[in-house]
Point group: C2
Chain length 192, copies 2
Amino acid sequence: MDERTKPVGRPPNAATSAALKEAALRLMREYGYRKVSIADIASAAGVARQTLYNRWKTKADLVLEAVFEETALVAAEPDAAGEESCRVQLETFLSNVFRHLDRDGDAMRSLIAAAQEDESFQEEFRTRFILPREEMVTGLLRRAQERGEIGRNRDPEFLSTLIHGAMWYRMLNGQVVDAAFAHDIVEEVFRS
Amino acid sequence: MDERTKPVGRPPNAATSAALKEAALRLMREYGYRKVSIADIASAAGVARQTLYNRWKTKADLVLEAVFEETALVAAEPDAAGEESCRVQLETFLSNVFRHLDRDGDAMRSLIAAAQEDESFQEEFRTRFILPREEMVTGLLRRAQERGEIGRNRDPEFLSTLIHGAMWYRMLNGQVVDAAFAHDIVEEVFRS
């Protein structure tokens, strides 16, 4: 009993967590999601495997957090007080998201696949990644509607589904998502 | 050598193939894609496992063919000579596809997940399933354009991506795809 309650390794702290997330992203970009194990990530970050397990249950949980934080850096939420039109803001935002997929698209695809095979991870993925990212687009489209850039008869939530769906469909079919695709999407959404 | 070249079991024929595909769909609907093995399917169809392997390399290959044929039955290609408007034809077609996903959506999600983990299956899935189904929608939208139901400035292929993307995104996130969703999609595509 004493043995089991004794702390194992260093307690996780922000620096250790950051090192683990950074190692996870770096290894996945080099070798691909499936070829990288929990042991590889812990070893690359120079920590005991248990330290990683103290914070994340599975590889998918760790990668989810790492990719989410990276996405937030590369494609920050559009500024509600921004002076640019919502149309320009959406195109910039989507271009940034797509640029990020160039690097971490393989991890995203693997996370989506993992969510199909594990209901509790699907729930976590949805709550911690999908919904916050979706809300950024829905919020921007609501502002577009308030400013009269899109009609009152459009449904921001439905349009957000169309936008994310187009991105997922291309990505999951191994096709390119790039700035030109962002432009086509915005053209369609803001078509009067 | 003689042993290995000797034919094993009955040669596959149309009736055997049909029995295997039917067994695959039936078992998957009951237990879910992941819980059903090649051995379960062969046994339910009353054939030797080798008979199945003579025709399909993997469970995913067999299920791909079974689901594709079933989709074609439930949601047949819209009739190019049909008298109904393309808008009505598209809504009917999508409602049928979505109704089918009620039964085989779990298998579709598992096939999409499998495609993320195996490049050669991704290619097969794309060539034998995705592209033919996509072309049905693109073809219908081209006719809609010829008849003046959608503008000349719209791109049928891009619209087809939006439509399939919306379906995949909802399905992969465990959300409902139903007749109301088909209506919303058609409303958006034919919005003037």
